[in-house]
Symmetry: C2
Subunit: 200 residues, 2 copies
């Protein structure tokens, strides 16, 4: 067997990486590039682009997959299980915010192209960290158990992404968001003395 | 002057009402009708439809405006200022839910067509009720003041719409949503003894 096949595969991988990098950057800056523009910026022919990503929808799907993989790796590296759940939650929020802030325009493009439900399913891998953390906080008596776990994960997701949308619209300052989010999410999750019977 | 002009105007109003009713119903059932399908279902010619709504975007915009007007009227009729803010908040949530549930698929279509920011601005008229209510609860010492009012309104909006998305995806039951939302929103907004200095 000649070395042609491995070389072709390496070319394809390089092209795919360049396309995703360029598309990530263009959508991330709030642009809405055509497929021809993406091909041009990535330095590949349109036929090559369409060979890898037959539609704009599949391209955005791949860009989101790439961003989620990055986020998942970052959250895994936090080793959240070393800290008490409430401390870990604050670290999770403060680490997630710059990622959300960086990808907020990509999110807008993905919402339009993929819809909110498909975008939410992409987040299953990152929300897995949130799910585990809330579950542990519940087991340790730090977090509330009067609302379903899935719903608590959903409100976490909704509130963090709402902050990204607000930052994108200029209604909150990105630098104020980590404090705002930490307070909000802890209010949602932590047990309240008010909720306990009077004699405890 | 003949009676032709008033009659034409009456025809136009009747056509617009029929178009919005039909489009509301089709989008509300999760369909994605073409302009030709909307015209057919409303019993008007395509030229008539395009005369009133030159694009699908303008049609969805009008459908959303119609839904928001209905919601605003419903919330105004609640006369929320007669009750203490926390009681009024629960009434607001329980009245809003069936409306959100009814329009949740229209919301999905509007998100794709108009984007999240434009959809949010449409909600200014309904969020005005929330803003006023939270402000009153803060003045009366019932609601927290450690987070900006605008952010509290945003989290209210985010959490209610997250529940509608969850119901649409089949992850929560629409009948469970009012209790879930009431507890969640009150946790977010009410002052907590934990947040007060120890000696109070």
């Amino acid at each position: 067997m000649s070395s042609v096949e491995p070389r072709r595969r390496a070319d394809a991988e390089r092209n795919i990486a360049a396309i995703i990098r360029v598309a990530s950057d263009l959508f991330g800056r709030g642009q809405s590039p055509s497929m021809a523009e993406v091909a041009g910026a990535a330095g590949v022919r349109r036929a090559t682009l369409y060979g890898h990503f037959p539609s704009r929808e599949e391209l955005i799907d791949a860009v989101i997959t790439h961003a989620i993989t990055h986020t998942d790796e970052t959250l895994t590296a936090l080793a959240l299980d070393r800290d008490p759940a409430d401390v870990a939650l604050e670290r999770l929020v403060r680490t997630s915010w710059p990622i959300l802030d960086r990808f907020r325009r990509l999110r807008t493009a993905a919402l339009a192209e993929l819809g909110s439900e498909r975008l939410r399913r992409h987040h299953d891998r990152t929300l897995h960290h949130v799910d585990q953390l809330i579950r542990r906080g519940q087991d340790d008596g730090l977090f509330r158990t009067d609302l379903p776990l899935d719903w608590l994960v959903t409100t976490f997701y909704a509130v963090l992404h709402a902050a990204a949308d607000e930052a994108d619209a200029g209604r909150i300052s990105p630098s104020a968001a980590p404090d705002l989010l930490t307070r909000t999410v802890l209010s949602l999750l932590t047990l309240r003395r008010d909720d306990l019977p009077e004699d405890t």
